[in-house]
Symmetry: C2
Subunit: 113 residues, 2 copies
């Protein structure tokens, strides 16, 4: 198996929902989606969602509110991260006009491929 690379500046992303574009790279057990969101700020958070996959997100750019069920919401900005164990309901609210989030999952999100 070979190493691979991806350029988000020269490769078109996939718009999978209005205001949401993503670029995906993966190995057998690890998947990263670079998520560009625009059309903010949002008046309210997205509804909570959960998945068996563990997730770590790095905020490259923008301001978000990170929400996990039963925990205080926390404002995150460029250089901040959040980590979500398997099955924990979570959500974000976009507080800036746009944001770039780097979402990495284990196992891979078959639903993204």
């Amino acid at each position: 198996m070979k190493a691979t690379t991806l350029s988000t500046s020269t490769t078109p992303g996939e718009q999978f929902r209005a205001g949401f574009t993503r670029h995906i790279i993966h190995t057998p057990q690890l998947l990263t989606a670079v998520l560009d969101v625009d059309g903010g700020p949002w008046a309210a958070p997205d509804p909570f969602h959960s998945h068996p996959h563990e997730q770590i997100t790095y905020v490259v750019d923008g301001d978000i509110l990170f929400l996990a069920e039963g925990q205080d919401p926390i404002r995150l900005t460029a250089g901040d991260l959040f980590a979500v164990p398997s099955g924990v309901p979570h959500s974000i609210q976009l507080l800036s006009v746009r944001a770039r989030l780097v979402d990495t999952f284990h196992p891979i999100r078959e639903d993204f491929l």
Copy 2:
């Protein structure tokens, strides 16, 4: 188990080698190390290294050369990524003065904790 967050701007990183500082966050099966490297550019790449862990890296800032054994080196800059399957020998060469890399691994790097 709870979700967690990390701010790399307000939390001190760990300098684990001259010119290398990292911040770490993890779930049971996923670990992200935000790596700040300075003292570049380097005259040559680091020696190849490998690990059983799968790795995906996002380049936040800076310019690097990414090398994987048996493959052509490729220059990466902000917004680019590389993905390394288990056991593939790989390395980087820092081409700019500094860089920030977001390295995510599965399983977690027990040697980083």
